[in-house]
C-alpha cells in the first residue's frame, strides 16, 4: 500500500474511533430532532391557550360581531358598570377588557376605543379586534351613505398574479425562495464542513507535534504527503459523519413527526379544504421550480466548490496547526480563516439574495476564499457558464498556490517547538 493510502487510512480510523466523533455523530441528530420536537410542542402549547376577553360596549353596536374563535373567546360585560367590569376581569383573571365608549361620530369612536390588560396584549389579538371593529364601522359608513352592502360585497375582486418567464413556463411566487434555500443550504453546509473538519485537521497536526511523533513520521514520508493524507482522511471521516447525520436525521424526524402527530395540514376542515387546493397547486409549482433549477450544474458545481473550498481552507488549517504548539496558540491565526468564511456567508445572504448578479455578488463569487460559498449561492439563480468556469479556475489556481505555501509552512513548522511564531516569521518560513 502506498504511504499516502496508509496515512489516509490511519487518519480516517483515528478520527472515526475518537470518542467525541462517535458521540457527536450519534448525538447531534438526536439533539436536533429533540429541538425541533420541543419547538413544535411548545408552539402547539401556545396555540391551544384560549384567551378570554371581556368587552364593555356602550354603543351596543358590536354585541353580535365579536365571535369566539379557537383562541379567543369573548364575554359581554356591557351590562355592568365600567368599574365593575374592570374588577371582574381582574378577579376572573381574564386576558383583558375592551372598552368601546359611546361617541358622536364613528371617526371619533374609532380613536377612543381602549383595551385594558395587565400585560402588553398580543399583537395578533389586537389586530383581530381592530379588524372586527374596523369592518363594522366601515359597513356602517357605507350604509349611512346609502350604499348597498351586498352590491359592494359582490363587486370585490380578487387578484392572483401568475408568474411566468418569457418561455411561457409558470413559476410559483416561491421561486426565488426555493433558489435561496438551495443556494443558502449549500453555502452554509460548506461553511460548517470547513470549520468542523478544518479544525479537526488542525488538531490532528497539533497532536502529532505535541506527541513528538512527527519527526519519526517524516523520516519515512514527505511532509506534503502527510499533510495531504491528513486532509483527505479527515474529509472522508467528515463525509461519513454527514451521511450518518443525514440518514439518522431523516429517520428520527420521521419518527418524531409521526409520534408527536405534528399536524402537516391545518386542523380545521373548511379552511384546509380551501387551502389544500391552493397549496397543492403551489406545491406543484415549487416542485416544478426545484426541477427547473440547473440541477446538473448545481450538483456538479457543489462537488467542485465543496472539495475545492475544503482543500483550500484545510491546508491553511494544517499550516496553522504546524506553526503552533497548542490549540490555544492557534487563536491568533484564526482570523484569516473565519473572516472570509463569514464574509462569504454574509455576502451570500444579503447581496446574492437581493441581487444575484450584482457587482458585489459577482466579485465575491470570483475571489477564491469566498467563491465556494458565494458562487454556490448564486448558481441556483442561473450564472453564465464562463463566470463559473473563471471562478473555478481561479479557485484551482489558488488551491495550488495556497497548498504550496501551506506545505512550506507545514514542513518548517512541524519541527519548530517552543516559540509562538508571528506572521512575519511564517512569511520567512516560506523561503527556507
Amino acid at each position: 500500500m502506498s504511504n499516502l493510502k496508509l496515512i489516509i487510512k490511519r487518519e480516517f480510523i483515528a478520527r472515526v474511533r475518537n470518542k467525541t466523533f462517535v458521540v457527536m455523530t450519534f448525538l447531534s441528530p438526536l439533539i436536533l430532532v429533540a429541538m425541533v420536537g420541543l419547538i413544535t410542542w411548545l408552539s402547539t402549547l401556545n396555540n391551544d391557550e384560549v384567551r378570554e376577553i371581556a368587552f364593555f360596549d356602550e354603543t351596543g353596536l358590536f354585541t353580535t360581531d365579536f365571535k369566539s374563535s379557537d383562541n379567543i373567546s369573548y364575554i359581554n360585560y356591557s351590562g355592568l358598570t365600567l368599574n365593575d367590569a374592570k374588577d371582574s376581569v381582574v378577579i376572573n383573571n381574564l386576558y383583558g377588557l375592551l372598552y368601546i365608549p359611546k361617541k358622536q361620530s364613528s371617526r371619533e369612536l374609532a380613536q377612543s376605543i381602549q383595551f385594558y390588560a395587565d400585560e402588553a396584549p398580543n399583537i395578533s389579538i389586537v389586530n383581530a379586534i381592530e379588524d372586527v371593529i374596523a369592518g363594522k364601522l366601515t359597513n356602517q359608513n357605507f350604509k349611512k351613505r346609502g350604499f348597498d352592502l351586498n352590491a359592494i360585497e359582490n363587486s370585490k375582486a380578487e387578484v392572483t398574479i401568475q408568474i411566468e418567464n418569457f418561455s411561457g413556463e409558470k413559476t410559483s411566487k416561491m421561486s426565488s425562495y426555493v433558489k435561496m434555500f438551495f443556494g443558502g443550504a449549500a453555502g452554509y453546509l460548506l461553511m460548517m464542513f470547513i470549520i468542523i473538519y478544518g479544525n479537526m485537521v488542525m488538531r490532528s497536526v497539533i497532536e502529532e507535534k505535541a506527541n513528538r511523533i512527527i519527526e519519526i513520521i517524516i523520516s519515512s514520508v514527505k511532509p506534503l504527503q502527510l499533510m495531504m493524507g491528513k486532509i483527505l482522511g479527515t474529509s472522508f471521516a467528515g463525509i461519513l459523519q454527514f451521511f450518518i447525520w443525514l440518514i439518522l436525521g431523516s429517520i428520527l424526524l420521521f419518527i418524531a413527526t409521526s409520534i408527536l402527530g405534528v399536524p402537516t395540514q391545518p386542523s380545521s376542515i373548511e379552511s384546509s379544504l380551501a387551502l389544500q387546493e391552493n397549496s397543492q397547486l403551489e406545491l406543484q409549482l415549487i416542485l416544478q421550480d426545484i426541477l427547473k433549477l440547473p440541477l446538473a450544474t448545481l450538483v456538479l458545481s457543489f462537488f467542485v466548490y465543496f472539495i475545492g473550498g475544503y482543500f483550500l481552507y484545510s491546508s491553511i488549517y494544517a499550516a496553522i496547526g504546524a506553526a503552533v504548539d497548542s490549540e490555544t496558540d492557534s487563536q491568533q491565526f484564526m482570523l484569516p480563516i473565519i473572516l472570509p468564511l463569514m464574509l462569504g456567508i454574509y455576502v451570500g445572504f444579503f447581496s446574492v439574495i437581493e441581487n444575484p448578479h450584482g457587482t458585489v455578488a459577482t466579485v465575491f463569487s470570483m475571489i477564491p476564499l469566498t467563491s465556494p460559498i458565494v458562487m454556490l449561492m448564486r448558481i441556483p439563480f442561473g450564472v453564465n457558464w464562463w463566470e463559473v468556469l473563471t471562478s473555478m479556475l481561479l479557485l484551482l489556481g489558488s488551491i495550488m498556490a495556497i497548498t504550496w505555501m501551506a506545505a512550506k509552512i507545514y514542513r518548517v513548522g512541524i519541527l519548530m517547538y517552543g516559540k509562538k511564531p508571528s506572521y512575519k516569521e511564517l512569511f520567512k518560513w516560506l523561503k527556507y
Partner: protein, 309 residues
C-alpha cells in the same frame, strides 16, 4: 573500508542563521560513528539532512556511493531525540503503521514485530495504548520501530535518554549486535562514557562547523601528551617530589590507593621514551603504578571546543 555515508560540504541556512557550514563527514561501513557537539551546534540539522527531512542549501550526500534520493529512506532507521508515539493508538497498531510506512508489507512487519516483542518480552503490550505505558516502555517500542526494517544505516539521537541503566544496557547490546550484523550506526549523544564505550569514529561539530573528526584511536593518539601517571611508595614523599621535579615536568595527580603514595603526573618530551623515566624512577622508589594518560573523549571534547572559542 568503504564509506557507507558521505556528507560533502553540507551547508544549511535558516534565514540569516547558518545552522551548518561546509560540514563533511565520512561514515565507514560497519562502524559506530559518534556525532558530538554542544547544544545547538547543528547535529540535529545534519541528521535531518541525512534523513531527507530538510534539504541542504549546498553540498551533497552520498549513501552507498549513490547521491541521496527518496528511495534511500527505507535504508535508514532514525530514532530522533524528540520522539513520541500516538497516545491513543494501540502499541501494535502503530508499530505496524510505522513499519508499513517504511515499506514493509503488513505480513512481514507483523512477523518481525512478533520477533522483537518476544525478544524484549513485551508481547502483552500489543493491545495497550501508549498512554498506559511509561516513558521507558514507549522508548522500547520506538527502538523496535527504528530497527525493524533492517536499515543499512541507523541513526540514534540520544538513544539512552529515558532508560534505566538495565534497559540502557539492553539497548546498547542490541545496537552492538546490529552493528555486528552489518549495520552502520550514527550515534549522537552528550554522554561521553557511552561514546568512549561504543564509538570507533567520531566527528565533533561546534557552532555549525566541524572542528574534529576521524578514528577515535587516532584522535586520542594525537591528543595524548606523553604524560604518565605514577604512584610511588617511599619514606619521604616530599623529598622525592622535589628531586623528580628538578628533572621532569611534574604535576600532582589524584587517584585512589590504599597506602600513602606519592601521586604525580610526569610529562615527557615528545621524543623521550617512557623507559628512561621508568628506569629513573625504579632507582628512587617502589613503583606501584605507571600508566600513560590517554585523554578521554570528554577531555578532548572540552579541550577542542574551548580551543575553538
Amino acid at each position: 573500508m568503504a564509506n557507507l555515508l558521505e556528507v560533502r560540504q553540507a551547508t544549511k541556512r535558516f534565514g540569516n542563521f547558518t545552522a551548518l557550514q561546509d560540514v563533511s563527514i565520512k561514515v565507514p561501513e560497519g562502524s559506530i560513528f559518534g556525532l558530538l557537539g554542544p547544544n545547538g551546534a547543528g547535529k540535529t540539522t545534519l541528521i535531518r539532512i541525512i534523513n531527507q527531512i530538510t534539504l541542504p542549501d549546498e553540498g551533497s550526500i552520498y549513501l552507498d556511493n549513490e547521491l541521496l534520493k527518496p528511495e534511500h529512506i527505507k535504508d535508514i532507521g532514525y530514532l530522533p531525540e524528540e520522539r513520541g508515539l500516538y497516545k491513543s493508538m494501540k502499541v501494535g497498531e502503530q508499530a505496524l503503521y510505522l513499519a508499513q510506512l517504511k515499506g514493509l508489507s503488513k505480513k512481514e512487519a507483523k512477523k518481525r514485530l512478533r520477533y522483537w516483542f518476544e525478544k524484549f518480552d513485551i508481547t502483552h503490550w500489543w493491545n495497550k495504548k501508549i498512554q498506559e505505558l511509561s516513558k521507558g516502555m514507549a522508548q522500547k517500542v520506538q527502538f523496535i520501530v527504528t530497527v525493524l526494517h533492517k536499515p543499512k544505516l541507523l541513526i540514534f539521537d540520544e538513544p539512552f535518554s529515558g532508560f534505566d541503566p538495565i534497559n540502557a544496557n539492553v539497548i546498547k547490546d542490541e545496537i552492538l549486535k546490529l552493528r555486528d550484523e552489518g549495520a552502520t550506526v550514527i550515534f549522537s549523544t552528550h554522554r561521553m562514557e557511552s561514546v568512549e564505550e561504543l564509538c570507533d569514529h567520531i566527528a565533533l561539530i561546534n557552532k555549525s562547523k566541524k572542528i574534529l573528526d576521524g578514528k577515535l584511536s587516532d584522535i586520542k593518539r594525537a591528543y595524548k601528551s606523553n604524560t604518565f601517571e605514577v604512584g610511588l611508595l617511599t619514606e619521604n614523599n616530599h623529598g622525592l617530589y622535589t628531586s623528580i621535579s628538578e628533572k621532569f615536568k611534574v604535576s600532582p595527580a589524584d587517584f585512589k590507593t590504599i597506602d600513602d603514595q606519592l601521586k604525580i603526573k610526569i610529562t615527557l618530551d615528545q621524543d623521550e621514551s617512557s623507559n628512561v623515566l621508568l628506569s629513573y624512577l625504579s632507582e628512587k622508589a617502589q613503583i606501584m603504578r605507571f600508566n600513560e594518560v590517554i585523554p578521554g573523549v570528554n577531555e578532548i571534547f572540552i579541550k577542542t571546543i574551548t580551543a575553538n572559542e
